[in-house]
């Protein structure tokens, strides 16, 4: 097994002014499952391809197990990759697909057969070995692609949105299987996804990428509870965190005096030193409703989503859009005005540029 280190990795494609990756420094620990999370175009796949050796960085280095492999061809990096569209060779059977890497490396027939059978058995596709990829379902293809990666016992697994083409139920199922597989193999895995659910449930650590830059690395709990900036804050949690832009007002003398004003909301906030434009983040589950004029402000109900175990209410708080997530079925009417409560213990403070203050 091995660790992966990215050191000041920068990738810019010809012609495009903006770099696909900008000075990315990141370490994946030996045996860790690290998730690269970000929206499409954030550079996460580019980073993965750099690790695989399919892409060459403009600057910076890739290290696998402390060895600089920046200029080493993919074949000699001992990494395996699972592609978003699986990339199973359509003209080969499942067995031939899984055994391909062993075959081109000159393994013996018996060795290949044994290891293919092992990998297939492990992923529950032993009875599909003679089929062609186009005769498999999406989930089966995914398992075959995983088996192909596994069979080589690589130092690092690179997974590029491997579940994105599957339907929701299968995704949840395979998610758990992948985690179990990771635990069983003890392998180092870099998992690229845009799905925060996958990131939260699978990653031992999450690295959030945005527009080619690394915003934060940390355990799911860290990243969720103490997002480094507004972008990270909004990329985890559904519905996304409310971020209210407004002004801090008050005197330095009395902490009780200090208020944050945004739209119709007046939220008492413990601001250490800051004055002027700031942003406040509050997750929907920390917003409550009460009688009009009894809370931090009032809001008009725009949309009510009854989900059974909870009710999601979209509000207009004096021009500020706000989402509240209320436990259970709550009887609120669209078009009515309600008072709003904000749980002060769970406020995230960001400066005007979006960086966390505390």
């Amino acid at each position: 097994m091995a660790s992966v280190t990215l050191r000041g990795l920068t990738v810019s494609f010809d012609g495009a002014g903006q770099a696909a990756l900008h000075d990315l420094t990141l370490e994946v620990l030996d045996g860790e499952l690290l998730v690269l999370l970000g929206p499409s175009g954030c550079g996460k796949t580019t980073a993965l391809r750099c690790i695989a050796g399919l892409e060459h960085p403009t600057a910076g280095d890739v290290l696998i197990d402390e060895r600089v492999v920046t200029r080493v061809p993919p074949a000699d990096r001992n990494v395996a990759m699972v592609f978003q569209n699986y990339a199973l060779y359509p003209h080969l059977t499942v067995a031939e697909n899984i055994g391909f890497a062993l075959e081109v490396r000159g393994a013996s027939r018996a060795d290949i057969d044994r290891r293919v059978a092992d990998a297939a058995a492990r992923l529950g596709i032993a009875d599909l070995l003679e089929r062609r990829p186009d005769q498999l379902s999406g989930g089966q293809r995914q398992r075959a692609a995983l088996a192909r990666a596994m069979v080589r016992e690589p130092a690092v697994f690179l997974l590029d949105e491997p579940l994105s083409h599957l339907d929701a139920n299968l995704r949840v199922e395979l998610r758990a299987e992948l985690v179990a597989l990771h635990r069983a193999l003890g392998a180092t895995m870099v998992y690229v996804t845009h799905d925060q659910g996958e990131a939260m449930t699978m990653g031992q650590r999450i690295a959030v990428l945005h527009e080619g830059r690394l915003r934060q690395v940390g355990t799911p709990a860290e990243v969720y509870q103490r997002p480094a900036d507004v972008i990270v804050a909004r990329s985890l949690g559904t519905p996304a965190m409310n971020v209210l832009a407004g002004r801090a007002r008050g005197t330095a003398d009395s902490l009780e005096d200090r208020m944050f004003e945004s739209g119709s909301l007046q939220i008492p906030v413990a601001l250490p030193t800051y004055e002027g434009e700031i942003q406040i983040g509050v997750r929907p589950e920390h917003v409550g409703v009460c009688a009009v004029d009894k809370g931090a402000g009032n809001g008009d109900i725009l949309i009510v989503e009854l989900l059974g175990n909870e009710t999601v209410v979209h509000l207009n708080a004096g021009g500020q859009p706000l989402i509240a997530r209320l436990p259970g079925l709550v009887d609120v009417q669209v078009g009515t005005r309600v008072g709003l409560k904000v749980d002060r213990r769970h406020l995230h403070l960001f400066d005007a540029s979006g960086v966390r203050i505390q």
């Binding site: 391809r49 695989a52 050796g53 399919l54 061809p73 993919p74 074949a75 990494v79 395996a80 990759m81 592609f83 978003q84 569209n85 699986y86 990339a87 199973l88 060779y89 359509p90 003209h91 080969l92 391909f100 890497a101 081109v104 490396r105 062609r132 990829p133 186009d134 498999l136 293809r141 192909r148 080589r152």
Partner: protein, 596 residues
């Protein structure tokens, strides 16, 4: 008017229009046969006068006027002779002496048909080039009961119109309309066939009468009439010619018989006491099958139009407009296809089963069945050229491999690759003749005459073809390479495959359908090669480059055997069809490999 009545009226009008068209077409063809019959009788009659009339004692190029006069009068009153006839000596009518003289200009240049009469020049005996008069024959009017009957066409037309109206009114099933239309087509065809039959019978009867008369009038000295003396009378027979043989039949009515496997029309002529001869010719009705198809097709336009009307009623106006627009857009392409693809194909098929025509004036070609094909298959040169073509086609795998190699090298982006790609495509865009001429100048270089030697000439053509084909095939491969998703190659690289393994195990298998396509189209193209052979070698030396199309060309245009050339074309077509069918089968199997 309510809807049903209105529809019945419109349909009846449509049916009447179609019926009129069918009748008119049939009538026109009947008239053509009547005229052709009269022309043939006139030709035989002119030959008769030339045979039986002694030359003038004054001018050997002229016919003896007294004799001619007597024989012309005699002919007009011959028992059984029903065709109004006039003989002009110079421009003067002999039979009806008071009649209008022939315009002098028409003696100079005799029109074949004028004012309902067939005109044929009358030539003197010793000098066949000199026109001494004109024979004019009018078609006989049918007499007796046959003359009163209007033919089958008219009643069938009335029936078709009536049934169409009934179908439109919903009183009869649509099938009846189709049946009535078919009956109309068949009836009209029966009329045409009858006219064709009549024209042959008329000629046989008239020529029989002329021959029997000639047998008694041949100028002496003679003891017994010989067939060769009467042969000139058969010259009017037209397509297929005629023959005169001694026989022992005594039926003086024209009949049909089979002689040596073909249908012939026969009449027996009595050429003296107990001496009978059979006059045989090919029956005109044997060449009317095209009219059967044509008239049936024309008659079916009625039900077709009715179906279109019904469809138009059932369908929303917008959809009708849309369909009309669609057809209007399709029409030019359809017309192009019909005129330049389907029609030549059908004509080739027609030519392939018909013999040569009787010349420009008599374009009827006798049906010969598979005789052309048989002749072609027995021709050793055809087999030789098939072998040569197969040998020549061996360049295709070579050019395909080259094209694939070039495409692999030039598939990388970059300006140099772009320039090189253009260089490879250049010969594709040049005219084949120009390329061939350039090649000719190259082949003439050096000590050896590459094109002049039977051992190297085909090789030169193959190299030339490789040079011009690689560009096109490379372009196809480039497109095929671009269609292979990059992730397969990425996956192979991560899997540890080197460049050769990536090509051998991933790229090439995924290109298989493309490779197959290039190979098969290449083979088809090779089978159709003609330009280089035509320009460079003319099939030589010693048939070394005599490819199959060059053979078709030679049979057609050098030997003027269009029937055989067409038969060979059809054979080549069938062979290529087999190759193409094979391609489709292989492609269907290989094409299953989707990019999963």
């Amino acid at each position: 008017m309510n809807g049903v009545r209105r529809r019945a009226v419109i349909t009846a009008a449509l049916a009447a229009l179609v019926a009129l068209a069918v009748l008119a077409a049939a009538r026109w063809e009947e008239g053509r046969f009547a005229r052709a019959g009269a022309v043939r009788i006139a030709r035989s009659t002119a030959a008769y006068f030339a045979v039986v009339t002694p030359a003038s004692r004054v001018d050997s190029a002229e016919l003896d006027l007294t004799q001619l006069f007597a024989q012309a009068r005699a002919l007009a009153t011959l028992p059984g002779w029903v065709w109004p006839v006039e003989i002009y000596h110079g421009t003067a009518p002999l039979v009806d002496a008071g009649g209008a003289p022939l315009p002098a200009a028409e003696l100079e240049r005799v029109p074949e048909w004028r004012d309902g009469a067939a005109l044929v020049p009358l030539r003197g005996r010793s000098d066949a080039a000199t026109v001494v008069g004109v024979v004019a024959i009018r078609p006989a009017r049918p007499r007796g009961v046959a003359g009163l009957l209007p033919g089958w066409g008219l009643p069938a037309a009335l029936l078709a119109v009536g049934v169409a109206a009934a179908v439109a009114g919903g009183r009869r099933p649509r099938r009846d309309g189709i049946v009535a239309a078919l009956i109309l087509g068949l009836a009209a065809y029966a009329d045409v066939r009858g006219a064709a039959r009549r024209s042959t019978n008329d000629w046989l009867t008239a020529t029989r009468l002329l021959m029997q008369e000639a047998a008694t009038r041949l100028p002496g000295p003679r003891i017994r009439v010989t067939l060769s003396a009467l042969t000139p009378l058969t010259l009017g027979a037209g397509a297929g010619g005629a023959e005169l043989v001694w026989a022992d039949s005594t039926t003086q009515e024209p009949r049909r018989a089979r002689v040596r496997g073909t249908s012939v029309a026969v009449v027996a002529a009595r050429l003296g006491s107990g001496r009978w001869a059979d006059l045989r010719t090919s029956p005109a009705e044997a060449f009317t099958s095209v009219w059967l198809a044509g008239l049936l097709g024309l008659a079916l336009l009625g039900p077709l139009g009715f179906a279109a009307l019904q469809w138009g009623e059932r369908t929303a106006p917008g959809e009708v407009r849309e369909a009309a627009t669609a057809w209007a857009f399709l029409a030019p392409a359809g017309l192009h296809l019909a005129v330049f693809s389907i029609a030549p194909l059908l004509f080739t098929l027609y030519l392939a089963v018909h013999g040569p025509s009787g010349g420009f004036l008599d374009p009827v070609r006798p049906y010969v069945g598979l005789a052309n094909l048989r002749a072609v298959v027995r021709d050793p040169l055809v087999w030789g050229s098939l072998g040569t073509t197969a040998l020549y086609a061996l360049y295709v795998p070579v050019s395909t491999a080259l094209a694939l190699a070039v495409a692999l090298v030039l598939s990388r982006p970059g300006r140099a690759a772009l320039v090189l790609r253009a260089a490879f495509v250049l010969p594709v865009m040049s005219s084949g003749v120009a390329v061939a001429l350039v090649a000719q100048s190259f082949a003439g270089l050096g000590a050896r005459d590459w094109l002049g030697s039977p051992r190297t000439a085909l090789l030169v053509l193959m190299v030339l073809s490789i040079w011009t084909q690689v560009g096109t095939q490379m372009m196809v491969f480039l497109v095929g390479l671009r269609r292979i998703p990059g992730t397969y190659l990425d996956a192979a690289r991560v899997d540890g495959a080197n460049a050769w393994q990536r090509f051998r195990r991933v790229t090439f298998p995924l290109l298989k359908p493309i490779t197959l396509f290039v190979l098969v189209t290449g083979v088809i193209g090779a089978a159709q090669m003609f330009t280089y052979v035509y320009v460079l070698t003319g099939g030589g030396p010693l048939h070394a480059t005599d490819v199959i199309l060059r053979r078709v060309f030679e049979i057609g245009w050098d030997s003027l055997e269009f029937g055989r050339a067409s038969a060979l074309s059809v054979l080549v077509f069938v062979l290529l069809l087999g190759v193409t069918a094979m391609q489709f089968k292989l492609l269907a199997r290989e094409g299953r490999v989707e990019h999963a």
